[in-house]
Amino acid sequence: MFTALYFKEWKEKALLFFFELGILALLILAQFVLREKKDIQEWLIYGMLLLFFPFAALILGAAGFEAEYRQGAWAYLFSRPVRKAAIWLAKFAALLSMLAALWLVFVALWVAVPGIRELVGGTRVMLGFSVESEFPWWSILQSGFLMTVAFSLSLLHERQFNILFVSLGVGFFLPTAAWAVMNTKAGGFMAFLAPSKALPTFLLCQVLIALAFAASSLATLVRSDFSQPRKLTLSFVRWFTPLLVLALACTAAWAILIPGPAERYLSFLGSSGGEPYYITPRGVFKYSVAANRIQWLAKAKHVNYFIASASGGKIAYTAFNIKSRADVAEELWVVNSDGKDRKRVLGRGPRESEWPLERPINDLMISPDGTKVLVLAQSGANRPEVRAVASEKSPLWIVKLDGTGLENLPDDPALFGNPSERYCFHLVAWAQDGNAVLISKRTFRQPMTFSLWLYDLGNRTARIVLDNAVMASWLSPASPRGDCLAIKYQKDPEKPWTLALLDLKTLATTDINDNTGEPVRLWSQISWDQKGDRLAYVIRRAQEGGPEVYVLAVYSLAAQKTVAEKSMTTSEASALLFWPSWTADGALLLVLDRAANGLRVLGPDLSEEKRIAFPESLRVPVSLHIVGANALVEDDQTDTLWRLDLSREAWKRIY
């Protein structure tokens, strides 16, 4: 019965369908004829996606119940032994398949003509949407939506022209209004926090509103009296109103509660006591060795994940407190590593005038004794600092963890003071038993320069430690004991960067050489073992007459030499993704090897023991951290966290 109705619709609307198909064919033909004129081709594509498909869909939809109205066939159709829902569904399915057939023609064009993708890309830019997919799914959804609206309304009125324009108005007005609401204060400042979620929200809103239209139309057809148009319309309105409210509420809930592409993130913060800390949009968590699971330490919205610190049993992080788009305050919070005693150290409050709110916090470190936090506040880590006014406050602040004793540390012109210079800073490590702090400085003049400075907290002065030097890796360059820092530096600007250790007490450097006695050219992240006795890393080594080889190496601080080496690959792309990490007992070294699609398990002498493949759902593995008897790997694509039970070699997604 359904198929009989379905094919009846096809036969009935065949003329309309072929008319639309003809127009589409003409547009496609024009694409080929005018292939030399890119601008006209571009407008033809715009016309296709923004006008043809929406209007073709509207016209098809508006014709939904046209025959029943025009030919008075209601009584005939309804008196057949067929469910009214089947009538509705068959009609809708027939129209949808006609629209799909039109889209298939476009898909064929998409596949056959490579240049079409660039032209379609132009519409994305024009609409101002950030879309990952090249294919114009948004246009398909848009036309499907408009067809559904027009089809639903065609049940209520016999004049297709009116339905077409009402559908067009309603179809654009409702989702646009909803989208606008999502972008206001009521919508949780979504556009401010996650502009990339604007399009998914708009599309979701359209889908839900389309469902509201469709459900109302279906319910009206199944239950209402077609001999009384006013009753019919009232019935539709009675169904549609609550469903529309529900659709808008669901859209709002989704926009506010579910993290969007820009809102969902997982960022490794650092390790403390062998436990890694992560930041997500929901706050801060750690992987607890004792509990062997994720432990939420602080549930907080809008955590600024770029900057945080884990030290001395305390975690410090900053989060945005957003009251309106114009009223955004950054706050500094501290929480114990067991999740207890969460406390706002700085932020809104009576001392607001003291707080360096005019500049965002770019870095912070908790002192080794866990009583103070050092704060670096400057104009963004990725934007160079321009100190136009020399009298401005210095970027360094210190405050006790109970929120008292906020102090702007004096400017040292040698480090911070050149107004004509463009530079940025990074807090590297505590030095000299917590009495000084090591700061990395990068200038933006070409060629860029990197230097390591020591800021003495006692006499409030800075001095340069090493020129042309930077920490060896951004994550955990300091040894777990806190007495040593892995750095990269150039003795001579003409020579390559070499790996060295900087004693944080004496500030003396020890060069690290490879087995051949040559200075190490560091290539990968470094990994300290948990006692701070050994350092693992990947180096790059030239080979005579061949490509450079990437070698995994282990340096022993006790022996003061490289104790093991293993050639890993000659592919730069593969080597770029290596990430070594020691097991808790230091007996094994695991290497995240994306090219091999798994973890390579190596013995102390770097002999390969086995490989453990990644699960299929782990798409872009990054950052490997060993926690107790588990290995944790982040998925950079899905922002998920995976746990590998090393004894059972079983993977499990834990966030």
Binding site: K11, A67, Q71, Y76, S79, S224, D225, S227, Q228, R230
Partner: protein, 238 residues
């Protein structure tokens, strides 16, 4: 005779105008029912409610003892319906319409459909939009009969038929159906025609049934023609 259909407390209004008020009737199988009423008294409304074209405001309809609702459709496989104004899909051909209907009715009789088309001089290749009202009525009749219904609702179908067809319809087709056990509800205001075939008389007036009885008994009781009975009944109540 067994009860085929029972209508209980059926009411239907259009806006503020009540058309059927607390309507009750029991229909027994194999009988020819004549439903008389003036224009606008609710004959078409009753037919449409029974066919699930429009919903009743209140009331129950039981077919073979089973309650049927506006949303039900299965019972219509055993119902035939020839409406007063036979609107079909105008762009279909007669053959297309018959094929379309054949999918819905399990007891569809293709031979019967073909013979009725011949009987009514309908060309299966003709498009419906080219047919006159009378020819559309014949087509409606052919469709309804091909479905081999147990219960046939005829909503004043003879008014648009030419005289020979009307004669044929009344004399042969109705009798043939009645003989085969089909229950017929013949709604009309043309009493002369009804008088020749009716077994049970139903008279609608003011939204209610004012007569529900064996036609011969009603006739005997009033000692008059059906036309006179109808006029007197409607006039009395008015």
């Amino acid at each position: 005779m067994t009860e085929l259909l029972r209508i209980q407390h059926l009411s239907k209004s259009f806006g503020r105008k009540p058309v059927l008020k607390d309507f009750d009737v029991a229909v027994e199988s194999g009988r020819v029912y004549g439903l008389l009423g003036r224009n606008g008294e609710g004959k078409t409304t009753l037919a449409r409610v029974l066919m699930g074209v429009i919903p009743a405001d209140v009331g129950d309809i039981l077919y073979k003892g089973r309650r049927i609702s506006f949303r039900d459709s299965a019972y219509k496989r055993e119902f035939g319906y020839v409406p007063e104004d036979p609107f079909f899909y105008e762009d279909m051909t007669i053959r297309g319409l018959l094929d379309f209907n054949a999918r819905f009715y399990p007891r569809w009789n293709r031979k019967r459909a073909a013979s009725d088309l011949e009987r009514f001089a309908l060309d299966p290749r003709s498009r419906i939009r080219t047919l006159s009202r009378g020819m559309k009525l014949k087509l409606g009749l052919a469709v309804a009969l091909a479905a081999a219904p147990e219960f046939l609702i005829l909503d004043d179908p003879t008014s648009g038929l030419d005289v020979p067809t009307r004669q044929d319809f009344l004399r042969d087709i109705i009798r043939e159906l009645a003989a085969s056990g089909t229950t017929i509800l013949f709604a009309t205001h043309m009493v002369h025609e009804l008088e020749r075939i009716v077994e049970w008389l139903l008279v609608l007036h003011g939204g209610r049934l004012i007569v529900d009885g064996d036609f011969e008994k009603v006739k005997a009781q009033h000692q008059a023609s059906l036309e006179d009975i109808f006029v007197s009944l409607v006039a009395d109540k008015a």
